[in-house]
Point group: D2
Chain length 303, copies 4
């Protein structure tokens, strides 16, 4: 039997707004509802950002905590918090303002605990072809932040996703492994190939070569694929065909179904992804199976 | 609207036998029936080999003519004849015996006329992971044969497929274009990326890089993808996602459905391919639409 | 006759210090002397950073002006100013401090005028394997800065180098061309493939694929190659073999001769590069020939 | 210290003739003289074809034996015999005639013994851009021939070079290893990337990707690079920069020095290769060092 596919739903993102009929969940209640719908459609992980009253991104631990609690009330889908939050702009100057490293490290104080973490593995000029963004914005992810996050996550026995937006970031992680920042054989770290955010271009060649590099350097790690806009389903499908373990869909990245129509709610993308995956004999993973993929037992939740 | 996808069914091959419950059509009547089933399932082209009484390959023009006539009786699916026929072995020595260039050029005498032609663009060690083959056999396709075929097909206003089993063959065709063997801007020649016959390995990287090379050298030509065995659907799907115009399915190459189960009849593969293609918004082309893809009008049939 | 090769000497960099016997020029007088030595050894362009009294980087227009004046006193080598200056660290917090966009745009006020400009085409985590750097530092190059620089340089009839540290930056420039920020057919912009600064890994495959992408998107632009540390000569040589127009050597990037020994002065690297290039039949370009490569006449200097 | 480079001189080839002032050695005496000159210039291996009285290729064991004896009289350079001999054409029909598998296996009867063997790892359309060839000719290398040669060479404790003209042939060897035809960890087999004979195109990208594939599948094997015509030095140099162990020069493949001029005698190419290699700190290997690279002791010669 072919290996199961973990479908991860990134339901909102930090700054993405309703668009073309697609409804982006903003409040904890809306997020929990979207997570539950995705769960019923076959997702085993939900990836969440938090929003302030003004619908713009926030790193407020209380809001994240409420999101986790509300999702848990509805179902046992695994919960992954973002580390990036999203960018705001100074209301006067228009200059982008990103959260500080300290605000971002506060994600480890969310209570009840999330199951999974994520962090962008490097800095680049963030660009989103849809969702309400204009132009590119430098998105900085410092060495300090990365190393502190790795340490904190591994200490807790949770799992951490590295969002890889350029292949060179995998080589940097390779340097970290050589420096002893983490043990290369750990199964609590994984690589997420993120295509189309202004960095790695969403082409089949780029993805294929990137995955080869990652598998050579980190043969023990699981692999996730995601892409922005209309490239979400093509790139995810190539990932599925190349044997990736996890794919991400959801309004954070894209609102388009594989045939180009717009989805109205996140779960429609989950269903579409499940349909494609099943065609190739890969059933969506259950939550229990996903726990095994991420190497987390039930204890992670009990602390 | 996204462009339509021509689904081509290669229903028998030269030497492939029934296997694991899959029924390979052998006689003209069986081939016509299979072609008709594929047509109803969404194929707009059928690719045929002929067999002698002993079920082994033949280049007999009469058998090919009967095949064409019987298919035409049932439906107007486009008909493509092989040029390779398939290999026999000397009954005493076991040494492989391929048809001569002259036998192969006799395909231009089939009556009623076929619509489309094909030719392997070079020589290599043929290997088939399924179908009753054992080991590899050198498959020779001479410069003489290629050039004569190109001339004959273009003169008739028909279309010719180059079966590309190694990227270097595209570079050879590029030399031909520079020598004036054909006009690079013609729309009656196309490239078929054939993965897994012992030559180009059926990996996503290989296909992506090959298609880039082909599109750079022959930007006006259409693109087809095929692959052997379990790689048929993954490679075809990558082709669809990269915008190829034609994909080939059928028992000549493979008997496995995308999820790994065995098909019993060729049309099941056609249906499965149509399902995948539709997911991504690409409807199977009708026969009339396929004629336009291959740049052949109705006149080709009237001669 | 094979095309000439422009050898560009980046003699100091923003923060690189003397190391292993290699002498990094710091003062305008030292820089002019190094430029002159490189000129005599076959370089037709010198790339300069300025330093303050404390030997750390500065964007002071007066220092840059003095550098240009002193080099001009000695020879007519083309002069390219950096746009990046280099990073300082806050003396209390150790946090990296980069110059502002406005300080960086002041390079257009240098008098006497420099001949050539350069700008990093995007943001990434800067890393240098040698030269006195520790760890990685996010290096931000905003869209605003890029677009203003492009406009200013093209208005002056000078030429601008895009330092490409990731292939995705070429795709961003492609977007700019589509938006009308510049005319794709201009010959006053060129691509510099920069390998090993924590971004594109210095491997033959990476360089070969990057150059293919660049040539497809910007067929009219010239091509430069550079790399850090021991990769400088291997990558530059691959560039020469692939037909690049310009290579960069010098202590900003590397102090090692092709055979691994340490150079004491910048001109030794220029000589070594010329030796290799001549082996393959490519003579170093003169200043007049380099002017033609960059599409700048003598008038650029007269304003 | 960087690893030494084995320079292998392929002095004549099967059918190549004098051209543009380059003298191709034909008789055993001429071949021995050329081998000796190459040896003095830094080659540690000579690759030889034999010719009949009419200067055309022969597989005559006596001629090969005389070649080996005469070379041994002059120096202890390692001797590698071809397995391909070269093609003749039927004087009446012009149809190419290749030697039979049995003639080719007779190379194991040469006495005194050669040190090293070689065999083309598959079939393809042979094309040579220089040397007196016209057009392409299918060159068949059967599975039977390959397997018999592998067995015979390993049994003798000698070493065998696989001439890889397409990457797919490495994958075929991988199948052989899985079938148990040889032990993947043996150090008596090596891969020779042959670019430009009508198969793998001589581009940097092609070579870089091919070498990666080979090193992944056969990490214990040594690596050789060669290419035809003007591509010989560029491709060999890329090979040197990627860490290959062996490069081949000589009039079998090319008569052009790196700068484009024509060499008159084979040793000039050896010298030019040594010059380039030394630039990058890699000294030419001595015969004793080459024996270690090929994993052959002195005993190979004693039988």
């Amino acid at each position: 039997m072919k290996k199961k596919l973990v479908i991860l739903a990134a339901v909102n993102g930090g700054a993405q707004q309703d668009r073309d009929g697609a409804h982006v969940p903003i409040t904890p209640a809306q997020i929990a509802e979207a997570a539950h719908e995705c769960y019923k459609a076959g997702a085993s992980v939900v990836h969440v950002h938090a929003r302030a009253e003004d619908k713009l991104p926030t790193g407020d631990v209380k809001v994240f905590s409420e999101i986790v609690a509300r999702i848990r009330d509805k179902c046992d889908i695994l919960i992954q918090t973002t580390n990036g939050f999203g960018v705001r702009r100074d209301p006067k100057t228009g200059i982008p303002v990103w959260p500080s490293d300290e605000e971002r490290l506060a994600m480890h104080k969310v209570e009840p605990r999330q199951d999974l973490f994520s962090i962008a593995a490097g800095s680049w000029d963030f660009y989103h072809p849809e969702g309400g963004y204009d132009g590119t914005v430098a998105y900085v992810n410092s060495e300090h932040l990365l190393k502190e996050n790795i340490k904190a996550v591994l200490k807790r026995g949770a799992s951490l996703e590295f969002e890889i937006t350029e292949v060179s970031q995998i080589h940097k992680l390779n340097r970290y492994a050589e420096e002893g920042v983490f043990d290369r054989s750990t199964k609590n770290l994984w690589l997420d190939y993120c295509l189309g955010f202004g960095a790695m271009v969403p082409t089949v060649r780029t993805l294929a070569l990137a995955m080869e590099d990652g598998q050579r350097m980190f043969p023990h790690w699981k692999t996730e694929v995601l892409a922005t806009g209309h490239d979400q389903f093509p790139m995810n499908t190539v990932g599925v065909l190349m044997g990736c373990d996890i794919v991400r869909v959801g309004f954070e990245d894209n609102i388009h179904l594989p045939d180009g129509r717009t989805a109205r709610r996140n779960y429609e993308l989950v269903e579409a992804m499940g349909d494609i995956s099943r065609k190739f004999g890969r059933e969506p993973a259950t939550v229990a199976e996903a726990r095994s993929v991420f190497n987390i037992g039930n204890q992670a939740r009990l602390h």
